[in-house]
Every structure is written in C-alpha cells, then in structure tokens.
Chain length 282, copies 2
Amino acid sequence: MQNNRRPEQRLWRHRCRELCERPIGIFDSGMGGLTVFSAVRKILPGENIIYFGDTARVPYGTKSKKTVTSFSVEIAEHLVRKNIKLLVVACNTASSLALKEIRSRIRVPVIGVIEPGVETALKETKNKKILVIATNSTVSSHAYAQMLKKKSPETEVCEKACPLFVPLVEEGWCGRQATFMVANEYFAGLKKTGFDTIILGCTHYPLLKKVIGKIVGEKVNIIDSARSVAGHVFEALKKNGMFNPGSRGYSKFIVSDAPEKFSGLAWRLLKIRVRDIKIKRF
Amino acid sequence: MQNNRRPEQRLWRHRCRELCERPIGIFDSGMGGLTVFSAVRKILPGENIIYFGDTARVPYGTKSKKTVTSFSVEIAEHLVRKNIKLLVVACNTASSLALKEIRSRIRVPVIGVIEPGVETALKETKNKKILVIATNSTVSSHAYAQMLKKKSPETEVCEKACPLFVPLVEEGWCGRQATFMVANEYFAGLKKTGFDTIILGCTHYPLLKKVIGKIVGEKVNIIDSARSVAGHVFEALKKNGMFNPGSRGYSKFIVSDAPEKFSGLAWRLLKIRVRDIKIKRF
C-alpha cells in the first residue's frame, strides 16, 4: 500500500512545487503600481513576479468604465497565459471599475487595492472621518466610499479627485513649489471636513506623501495601501497553498510602449532597477 | 456630337459635386484638435466635417513613435472608410511622428500642423529666433526644428517640452495661479535665448495663450497654427477641385471613449456645442 502511494505523493509534491514557483502577476496602467511591486518584493522575496505596465494607454483615471474594463481584462488574460498563480490589480482605477469583471473572466485569485487600503484606514482613524484622494474615474465610481461604508457604516467619507497629481509625478516634480500650489488648491476647503486620515487612492500618490503631509499637518494619517496589499497577497498565497519561500524570486517586466521611459522613471522616482523588460503591443 | 457629350458632362458634374460634398476628416488624440476644427469651420463654412478624438488612448505626447504611428494609421484608415476627401492631422505629436506613414497608407491628401505653423512663424519673426513649445514626443522628434531649418536655414530654434500644459488645460485651469507657476518654471532660463516668436506646438496650448503672453511679454509673437492650417486646407481643396462652397456644412464627431466628457470639455473650454457624437472602440 505504502509503495503504491509513494509515486502519488511525489507527483503531489511536484505539483505543489510547480504551483508555488509560478509567478505573481501585478498590473497597473503605467509605472505607479511599482510602489505595490516594491512592497510585495520586500515582504515576499522568494516570489517570482511579472509586472505589466500599460504604458501605451496610460492614464486610466480619465477613461470610462467600459474602456478601463476592456483594457484590464485584456491584460489579465495575457498574464494568465504567462501562467501566473495570482493577480494583483495595482491600479486603483482598474480596481474600482473592473475588479468584478476580471474575477469573472480568469481562474486565478485576484487582489485589488481598494479593500487593503480601506482596512488600514479603518484601523488608523480615530474620529472616523476619512478623506479619499484619487483620479476622476476612481472618485466617480465611489468604490472607496462604498467599501468604507460597508465595513464601517458610521464612517464619514469625503472623496476628492486630484487629476494633476499623476502628471506632476510623471514629470518628476515631487517637491516643487508648483506642486505645493496645486496640492493647496485641491485641499482648500477640505480641511473643515475634519478628517484625521487620508487614503492615497492612486498608486502614484505615495510619491507626493511629503507634499501632502506638509499641507495637511503631522497629525493626519496618510494611508498608502501598498504594504497592506502585500499583506493581503501573503495571506491569499498561504490560504491557497501557493506561498513560495526563499529569498531570490525573479522580477520580469512587460510594458505596452516606451520601455526606456518606463525604466528611467522607475529608477529616477523609486530607485528600482528594471532590467528584464519586454514589449507587448495591443 | 453635342448630344453625345451632354450625358458625359452631366456625369462629370455629378461626380465633381459628389466629390465636393464628401467630408473633411480632422483627427486628434483628444479634444485639443477642436481649435483646428473651429478655424476650419469658420473659414470654410460650407464644408462637411468629421472630427475624430482618440479619447481612449489620449495623450499621444508621452508615447513612442511606433505606438503613435500605429494609432494614427488606424484612425486615418477608419476615416477613409467614412469617405473623407481630405485628412487634417490636427495632433502635433501625430503630425511630427506619423505623417509620412499616414500619407503612404491612404489615398486622400493629408495636411499636418507642422508646416502651416512654421510658415506663419517665419512670416512673423524679425530676429529669426524662434521658441517651439510642445509635448515630449514632438520635441524629441525635432519635427519643428527640422522644418524651420529647411525653410530658413539661418533661423535659431530652441525647443522646450511642457508636458504639464495638457493636463492643466484638461482640468480647466487655464488662468489659475498654479498654472502661472508651472509656466514660469518652464520659461525660466529660456528668455535669455532672445526669441521674438513662440510656436504653440500642441493643439491644447492656444487655451493657455493669455498665461504664456503675460510671462513672455507683449512683444513676443505667439503662433497658434490653427488658422494657418485652415488656410492650407482651403488651398488644397481648391487645387484638387474639391472645394464645397455654401454656408451650411455638417459637423459630425467620433470619439473612442467617454463622449459626455468630450462634449463637456468642448463646451467649457471652447464654447463648441458637440451634438452628433458617436463612439468607435478599438
């Protein structure tokens, strides 16, 4: 009996190992999702990762639900063909508008950035007054407000679109006087709402944390969901028996346009060296 | 003999009329090209016009030559299927990167915005020192500098990318303090070059003419190529026997995403009422 089981056990172990070694897919409209990539890489050094930046069609934050969903599903299906074991939708706009559709179209677990951000904010807030800043499309979807109200109905939520923050970051103007002035215009009139916590509802915004902090003051919690997302990824991997221990996972990058610009910005803004980079044109 | 020729003449006249009544196609990456649309509509009120805004993939100014060319050719071919008699590439980035390829792929006359802008600037400048401001991709292509040097080799040209101008316009911040500050940062260090003429090398920039004028001073000529482009269209139509006289041409609009946002911006920024609007998804 024991002899008969051994090959099966070996096969089972082999399959488990094969599953664990499959890469995690992370996708974003551009380079902003690299903040999530960094957090996952730090917490889960043994995981293999494929990052996809849709640089040919960036930004998503100004586009309609139909278009964002169509682009997102196309990329999710492309990553599934690359044999990923789990997908992280690092783009807030795609997480807000397309998560349900992506989940219905692919067969691997899918993690968005809304829920992790909301959970962290609810842990940090004391007065239950939360400000969400994001792109136009994310704010219009009310995805953050709905999730906050679902998990904590008594929370007061204020949402504010800050569409100039993404181009300011992409221009590398993270600490310039003009950036302070733009941020000041966005926050004028919001302080009276009395929020004690801000959710940075766009993966580019962590790069403006200092500017925002100076304007809103030290006492306000600024929630960057990247670390929280990495924690969710770890839990999902363990729950599904897919965690890959170790410390030397590979990182591969795919973009839909302009790889040199992508790797240049990754280094300039996040000190990430992007080496193994491929192009997928749609 | 005369009797035999009459049906032929009638057929010939019918064909000429049919040709004249075909629409002009105007395309841009988004809504900026409506400045060109307005100028053409004003100078040529009898012409039928189909305007295409690629709102699903805007902006083009941060993307590579290959991607911009692929998008531009796709749209040009789509407009040819709509039976246009002439194509205006109202987008500066597409005019800089893809004009040759578009001309080789479609059989109707194609007019870009670079040459008309250059001709007007050369007429206006006195000291032959010209500043070109445009998107990153247009500046990297050096299309303006090359055309200026070709037509007037002794001209001194300085090119400056101003990538934040497009999102500032799209946000409707055409006269805000933050916009002055951004413009000031871009123009710092340029005044010493001694230019007496600026070419606005992006269709969004005419909406910032006042801000730019205040920074560079009254004596500097600010060239918005829209009117000059309309003049080129008129000449091309007459040369090819395609001019449509009259005063009541139709205007149709096609966008690849978010028609409400497009018509909202058209009204808010340019006071253009966009009524007949269709969606073409790629």
